[in-house]
Amino acid sequence: MTPADRTTRRRFLIVAGGALLGAARLGAAQQPGTLPGSGTTGALGDPGAAGRSQAPTTDRDNDLAIQAIEKRLRCTCGCTLDVYTCRTTDFTCTYSPQLHREVLQLRESGMSGQQIVDAFVAKYGEQALMAPEPHGVNLAGYLVPGTLVTAAGAVMLWILSRRRVRTTAELAPVAVDATPAELEQLRQALAESED
């Protein structure tokens, strides 16, 4: 056995020993009794590494009406997501859970979805919305693209319909001496080769 072999073996033993020790440390820190169906809840060895502690969910978190309201409201943390998406995606955000609680409180006070949205706009300004309400200048935001496309389409149709009248006379059929069978064969050949 060469010295190099001995070094390699020693390194292997050191690494393997280190790995075993590390595993033992993690195992020791983790509480037993977490088998499926046992119902007991062990503590995590390193809770800080598992992300921010979460509040247990309630039925209201899954209320579709609440979710629909939250999808209209923007989270104020700067993430550009709506409140629902942020609170169910960015689990480090502290803003969206708070905004969620606000929505729930307003709902409990008897407000409708639109009233809750209006309350948010009153409190946080118009940028609390994921999309502006279609009023005033914002209405232009909604109407301009569709109006322009429709107008351009109408102009194109108008020009084409005028051109059709003008060119129909120019396109006199050319007399071709061919039988219907030959015409069909030509059409099929064209169908195959035409780009």
């Binding site: 595993a23 390193d46 800080g48 709506d82 689990f91 940028q127 071709v176």
Partner: protein, 682 residues
């Protein structure tokens, strides 16, 4: 290496300036030495930037933390492939990557273009070199990847965990390749305008480049959607974020160009429109870069806010002014050779298709910029998010899907009523049958049903086109079906490759429709507890929380939450979602480098995805908060991407597959003659 990298950047910059000045001035005319000097300068720029890139890669691999860029985006415990991909993870490195790839494309354009376009190539070299010189100047004067720190830290900050995904290694390069390669068609368009050689030559010269660019953009966008879906954990793939929109904009106008250019090739029409589309597409690619790098509009994807935005804004204005002024001055030379004759013709269908593509591009641009406009007009900040874009774009998208099926069915020049009846019968029947089957199956979401019925219509169109082509070959050549199909595609790669791309697009639409049937539920579970969720197909899934295990991987501590799955009572295995706490080592201690990130558990099949997100533990115990989602048809989107790529490769496969020269094909009898009794014969 830092000095060598700096030197290489300056060399590339000066060569770029030389090439641009000589190329644009036209002094190379009648001077073969200057012409070859311009070409050699393009290769020289490429070589210089390769040296600069090699220097940065070496600094990354050797952990040279004296470089600010290496320190900011890597750490010693970062896996090697992420160290390599950190090249484009940050502003400075991605600028170098951009310049490098553009210089490679510019060299390829010089080396691979036919000598028929020799009169265009010096102008092409000038445009590409000017653009490269601009990017290098941004690096030299605002965002230098070789900037040194005042001292050398022992370790780097590491790469953002969300960038530590295989998508990071392929998505940005693909998207950049798409953005960057748009410069080549733009350069040829400018060359044609400057040289006044405005026949179809420049169109033929850029055909492959536009398809290459379009394929890279398509793949890049699809990979971006996939990355967002698997990494960000929100259960979606497209959020109408400004940076996402910025990538979609040039794709839309490029797609419009790929359709309208066929009219120019066949009928000599739409010359001005096509040049406008190419210039506009280039502008939009620079606009996208401006949006991504300036921080002018809030986005989750943006690089950190910096002053490079001003450089891009200035370049955008100059390039736009130059391109459109050039187009305006050549306007009289761009008279169409023919005129549209009927609104019931393929040309008209392509025109409406262009209108929709450009209309959608406008609406996306409008929505992206509307917050700025609103603030300017009203002084009020607003957000324009998915509700706006969905409301405006879904109807336009459905119209476009309908035109995808209509266009190929209508004859060139003018379609007769008999022709329309013959062509539309089966595709319309296919669309109606799809709608009926869905209705019978209980679907009552009318938008989704319309989208799927239109997908059925487009599928019918493509099927009938293949069927007729194969039948014609079998009758004329007596071939077997597989041989006829193969030769049909091989002899008409552009046409049938295009149809395959249409199939890819309809598959995307089917995938998008699935989002209408998404099911979602949050739950807090102790080990052994379970919840049930019913899928849109009527299956009941039972999710049982098994427990949370923690272990250390290379550069992170992993908390893995495992869930047992059963479908209709039948066990389907386990899925594991993770929290990852990345760390660096400082003084022998693990120091968290970022907030804990989430790894989603996904199980896909053709019908639906199970998508599980471990939100976090309750009070440091194994009690876990989850979000369970059933996402129908998502896999179809990734599959559509493959089909689209396959179709794109067919369309750009070398050679046109036909013994007929393309110019001769343009003037073949079928386009010039109206057959007597054509209606009766069918």
């Amino acid at each position: 290496m830092t000095l060598l990298g700096q030197f290489a950047l300056w060399t590339a910059f000066l060569l770029g300036l030389w090439c641009a000045v000589v190329g644009f001035s036209g002094r190379w005319r009648g001077r073969p030495d200057l012409t070859s000097s311009v070409t050699r300068a393009v290769y020289g720029i490429c070589a210089s930037l390769l040296v600069a890139a090699a220097c940065l890669w070496k600094a990354l691999i050797t952990h040279d933390f004296s470089l600010e860029y290496v320190w900011a985006y890597t750490s010693r415990n970062l896996p090697t492939y992420y160290v390599l991909s950190a090249f484009w993870a940050g502003q400075k490195g991605s600028l170098l990557f951009w310049a490098l790839v553009l210089s490679i494309f510019a060299s390829a354009a010089q080396a691979l273009s036919s000598r028929r376009y020799a009169a265009l190539l010096p102008y092409v070299a000038a445009v590409t070199s000017a653009v490269v010189a601009f990017f290098v100047s941004v690096m030299l004067f605002a965002a230098n990847p070789f900037e040194r720190l005042a001292f050398t830290p022992l370790d780097g900050r590491g790469l953002n965990p969300q960038l530590q995904n295989v998508g990071m290694t392929i998505h940005p390069p693909m998207l950049y390749l798409g953005y960057i390669s748009i410069t080549i068609p733009f350069a040829f368009a400018v060359a044609a305008l400057m040289s006044r050689k405005l026949d179809t030559g420049w169109i033929h010269a850029i055909r492959k480049w536009t398809i290459v660019s379009w394929i890279f953009l398509s793949v890049g966008i699809t990979l971006g959607m996939w990355w967002a879906y698997v990494e960000l954990g929100w259960g979606g793939y497209w959020a109408w974020d400004p940076v996402e929109n910025a990538s979609l904009l040039p794709w839309l106008t490029m797609t419009a160009f790929l359709h309208s250019v066929m009219i120019q090739e066949k009928r000599g029409m739409l010359k001005r429109w096509n040049l406008g589309l190419i210039v506009g597409t280039f502008m939009l690619s620079i606009f996208g870069t401006f949006i991504t790098r300036s921080g002018v509009i809030a986005s989750v994807h943006s690089f950190t806010q910096s002053n490079v935005g001003y450089f891009f804004l200035a370049f955008l204005i100059m390039a736009g002014a130059f391109g459109f002024t050039l187009l305006y001055t050549r306007w009289p030379l761009l008279e169409p050779e023919a005129r549209l004759e009927s609104m019931v013709s393929r040309e008209a269908a392509f025109l409406f298709n262009n209108l929709l593509f450009v209309g959608i591009a406008f609406s996306v641009l409008w929505g992206t910029l509307f917050p700025i406009l609103s603030e300017l007009v009203r002084g009020t900040k607003i957000t324009v998010g998915p509700p706006f874009f969905n409301r405006v774009n879904i109807p336009l998208g459905l119209l476009l899907l309908a035109l995808t099926g209509i266009g190929p069915l209508i004859a060139w020049r003018k379609a007769s009523t008999a022709n329309l009846r013959r062509q539309f019968t089966w595709p319309v029947a296919s669309g109606l049958a799809t709608a009926l089957v869905l209705f019978a199956a209980g679907m009552r979401d009318w938008y989704a049903m319309l989208a799927l019925a239109l997908a059925g219509f487009v599928a019918g169109t493509v099927a009938i086109e293949f069927f007729r082509g194969v039948r014609a070959r079998r009758r004329i050549h007596g071939e077997a079906i597989p041989a006829a199909l193969f030769r049909l595609i091989a002899r008409n790669r552009r046409r049938y490759g295009g149809y395959i791309v249409h199939v890819g697009m309809l598959i995307y639409f089917v995938g998008f429709t699935g989002m209408a049937f998404k099911r979602e539920r949050e739950a807090t579970l102790k080990p052994g507890q379970s919840i049930e969720l019913r899928s849109p197909y009527g299956h009941t899934y039972r999710f049982t929380h098994v427990g949370i295990s923690q272990y250390q991987a290379l550069n992170r501590i992993v908390s893995a939450a495992t869930v047992q799955i059963a479908r209709d009572g039948k066990p389907e295995g386990v899925m594991t979602s993770e929290k990852r706490q990345h760390f660096t080592i400082e003084n022998g201690e693990k120091v968290p480098s970022f907030e804990p990130s989430t790894e989603v558990a996904i199980r896909s099949d053709l019908r639906e995805d199970l998508y599980i997100v471990f939100a976090g533990p309750v009070n440091g115990t194994e009690e876990a908060v989850y979000r369970f989602t059933i996402n129908p048809l998502v896999w179809w989107i990734w599959y559509g991407g493959f089909v689209l790529l396959f179709g794109g490769i067919i369309t750009m496969w070398p050679g046109d597959g036909s013994p007929m020269p393309s110019m001769a094909r343009r003037t073949q009898a079928g386009y010039g003659v109206t057959l007597v009794g054509a209606g009766e014969a069918s």
